[in-house]
């Protein structure tokens, strides 16, 4: 018996022969199966989000009211525009990636380098945008009041538009100061205090008959949050526990804390994929520059990172739909 020695192994075939199972090289096929398993991970997360969303169907935050910021347009209500821009940035970086793969097929080193660079820049811009989106969500827009049972009460003017706490709350003499290390126990830290105390908010609300409150409950007919008339509002505010500004893993001024949890977790997990994609792209970019693939005779490595990069784009398409559109 003879040992089969590959006569013509160009580095893309499996060890011990030129037979390629499923017609793909080892690396490419494993990248596909990794993508398959990662896709199932993401669908697990999005599925869990869907479960909770169906469970709290009548009180889930409305995305249009949460993500309303756009750079340089302060105070303007601009739902969706920013995230649409982010989607375009990611799709475009996918296009430059596939152009790099295409140039690799033609062994055009110059073009591969150029398009890889554009892809890296696109990925970096997307990451920055994601960070800005998080910053706005964490900082919050209006501020709200949390009840004892965890429900969120927001404030609206006579037309039903949401208003900020700053616009109607008058500060009283404050009895509570922020704890810092030099004011007491040096080893005890305190989370940042909300801008107003609960008492200030409730007293200012009583003094302003023109404003009213809004509960999380969505009217199924109009698909808008229910507004409670000013006179009935004290029933809710008597149950108030704390003032909430912004969103984090423990509370969320826009409504359900679960919404913030899922948002941070899923977009964070996706953002981490983008980050690792950018890093891998940078490594491959330098390999292209020093001519590794030119010498190897093929640019299949660019193709493989390309697959990963497109997958990241593919996941974003679904995240975009389920967090912002549906």
């Amino acid at each position: 018996m003879e040992v089969t020695i590959p006569t013509e192994n160009n580095g893309t075939s499996w060890k011990g022969g030129n037979e390629k199972p499923l017609g793909a090289s080892y690396g490419k096929m494993m990248m596909w199966f990794f993508i398959l398993s990662d896709a199932l991970t993401f669908s697990g997360f999005l599925g869990a989000y869907g479960l909770m969303r169906f469970k709290f169907h009548e009180s889930w935050p409305i995305a249009d009211e949460v993500f309303t910021h756009f750079p340089f347009l302060h105070g303007l209500h601009a739902p969706m525009y920013y995230v649409a821009l982010m989607t375009f940035i990611l799709i475009f970086s996918s296009v430059t990636m596939v152009l790099a793969v295409d140039a690799g097929h033609q062994m055009n080193k110059k073009k591969v380098t150029f398009y890889m660079l554009l892809t890296i820049i696109g990925g970096a811009i997307f990451l920055g945008s994601q960070a800005w989106e998080w910053k706005n969500f964490i900082a919050g827009t209006y501020g709200a009041v949390k009840l004892n049972d965890g429900k969120i009460i927001q404030f609206v003017d006579a037309t039903g538009e949401q208003i900020t706490l700053e616009s109607f709350v008058k500060p009283l003499t404050s009895e509570r100061t922020q704890h810092t290390a030099n004011k007491g126990l040096w080893f005890v830290k305190e989370a940042e205090l909300p801008p107003f105390t609960l008492n200030e908010v409730v007293e200012s609300f009583k003094a302003n008959p023109g404003i009213s409150i809004r509960t999380e409950f969505i009217n199924p007919e109009t698909k808008a949050k229910t507004i409670i008339p000013h006179n009935d509002a004290m029933g809710f505010l008597n149950e108030a526990k704390s003032v909430v500004k912004g969103a984090n893993l423990r509370e969320n001024e826009y409504g359900k804390t679960l919404f913030a949890n899922f948002f941070f977790f899923i977009t964070g997990f996706h953002g981490f994929h983008v980050l690792s994609g950018v890093i891998i792209n940078i490594i491959i970019f330098f390999n292209v520059i020093i001519g590794t693939y030119e010498r190897r005779g093929h640019y299949e490595m660019v193709e493989k990172v390309g697959l990963y990069w497109h997958f990241v784009d593919l996941v974003w398409v679904f995240v975009f739909t389920f967090f912002y559109l549906v």
């Binding site: 669908s43 869907g50 009548e58 296009v95 229910t226 005779g297 739909t321």
Partner: protein
């Protein structure tokens, strides 16, 4: 450079796919901002027609990305099916069960939630 002649440039196709993806995204965003009452406030198959449109457009986008950007169209049928059929089946399976359970939880929990104080 015999290698270069084997592979024709697909640049035209790539820009065409980019145009399709852009148009779909613009349509999605426009519908998401306008939210026409006839699509948003009516109900079909347990949700609004607008949501159905969004889901279909998302799947169309996923198809174009997988088939033309990830070159799934050029892979062997066996590899394509191993990846696509597996994921599509498992994802639909998981989503169906989770969403059914979610609406069951809502049926039970919804009437017990207090909304008047």
């Amino acid at each position: 450079m015999t290698h270069a002649q084997e592979h024709n440039s697909h640049t035209k196709l790539i820009w065409k796919v980019f145009a399709i993806l852009s148009v779909i995204t613009i349509v999605e965003v426009a519908l998401g901002i306008i939210k026409p009452d006839a699509l948003y406030l009516t109900k079909i198959l347990g949700t609004s027609p607008l949501n159905i449109i969004f889901l279909i457009l998302t799947v169309v986008k996923a198809y174009y990305i997988t088939w033309f950007f990830m070159h799934m169209a050029d892979e062997k049928k066996s590899l394509r099916r191993a990846v696509v059929w597996t994921s599509v089946f498992l994802i639909i399976f998981l989503a169906t069960l989770l969403l059914i359970e979610g609406s069951y939880l809502n049926d039970i929990l919804g009437p017990l939630t207090k909304w008047n104080y």
